[in-house]
Symmetry: C2
Subunit: 243 residues, 2 copies
């Protein structure tokens, strides 16, 4: 029997992979993943066998990995960012264990909450939540409840999947909910295309964030009550007296 | 003028560092950090200058980095896990900007929420919170409020700093608060010494977690309402129909 590794490759560039992720993929017989992520790493592994698929075929992708592993092959199922956060470790493990196959290992990676925060300054520095605005798998009323709880708990918030072609306006809806609890001048920011050639970073207020145009390659950040902007950086103090 | 890099080295072993973290430290003139973290990487950088300090001297450590940078040196301030999450990016940026020095860059790393979840299976797979139980910098009533909001929002929860010599019993207090909202059979787990030689992993229920002994090198995980245990793995479904 083979083995399946679910590997987080980080934001997308080679240098943001861990050595473990890089070596694990190198040691596998075949690399499986969403087309866009395969393109990010293809040049690092010349001569390897790649199997790519499109969006919304996540469970088919897991079944492909399982079949390959049962044929005795070692398989790397790649994910951008971490392998667990809104990624493939969970569906892959469910699919494999459901079929009695347990040789699945997760290789973690740097997730967008951390890499985006680093580009903005130090916004995710204290207790934080991540929330995805995609309602394909989570009902919108659950998302709404989580947004309210995050605001009431004074968490820093990282918002994944703030909008997409079919979900234009979701970020505005989320901001409206947050604005019922948080002030309009709450420091926020967002990062587009983290770790890729055309990364862009913007710092703004929560009121301004309502009107911003984002896409599925954007990660959005909302500060907690102590977060401030200085020299263009978004900083959440940890509580030290720095004087 | 020099430059300061705040670098997350991941859980502690070389292979869980990103290439960017490893190369950034290599390119710096001097490496500054908490004694325990310096020991984790010292052998990777033979001949380098190291400046180590003890716990609770975080702001002194930042000032040391700032002085070195103002003397024209490039400095790596290292953190375990990520450079931002309960780490040094925020106090370093505050200290530097307060003094008019802005050449501070953050190099993110794999945080314990992701590396611990990978060892337990796939518990951090959907919306999640991280909460530190250390009340050195955050008042306990804020921590308590955040625990309640996390439970009410049906978040997966990663608990950092569950206890220490001076905070024995804090995890039990936190579990008692969660148990006001969550059922006693809620799947949980914890990981000790992630990425080091003597890593240990345990899966249990929330009621059992109340009685567990943990320390400051332990990260604790509480599942959401969909999390289940199968073949010893802690899995939070993302909502896919895997049949």
């Amino acid at each position: 029997m083979g083995k399946i590794y679910v590997v987080g490759i980080g934001p997308g560039c080679e240098e943001m992979m861990t050595l473990h992720a890089k070596n694990t993929i190198e040691a596998c017989d075949v690399i499986v993943g969403y087309r866009t992520y395969i393109e990010l790493i293809r040049k690092l592994y010349p001569g390897k066998e790649f199997i790519e698929s499109g969006m919304r075929s996540e469970i088919d992708r897991c079944r492909t990995c399982l079949e390959l592993a049962k044929e005795g092959r070692t398989v790397a199922l790649i994910c951008s960012g971490d392998a667990g956060v809104y990624a493939m470790a969970s569906p892959m493990m469910e699919t494999a264990l459901d079929d009695g196959f347990s040789d699945v290992e997760t290789v973690p990676g740097v997730t967008a909450a951390q890499s985006g925060s680093a580009l903005l300054g130090a916004v995710i520095a204290n207790d934080y939540c991540t929330i995805s605005l995609s309602d394909l798998l989570t009902p919108w009323d659950v998302i709404e409840k989580r947004l309210r709880c995050a605001a009431e708990g004074d968490y820093c918030i990282a918002i994944y999947n703030p909008s997409s072609h079919n979900r234009a306006g979701y970020l505005k809806r989320a901001c409206s909910i947050l604005l019922e609890i948080l002030p309009g001048d709450r420091p926020c920011g967002y990062v587009r295309n983290i770790g890729r050639d055309d990364t862009s970073v913007k710092v703004c207020t929560l009121s301004e964030l309502c009107e911003e145009q984002t896409d599925m390659f954007t990660t959005v950040f909302v500060g907690n009550s102590a977060t401030y902007i200085k020299c263009g950086r978004l900083i959440t103090p940890r509580g030290y007296d720095i004087k």
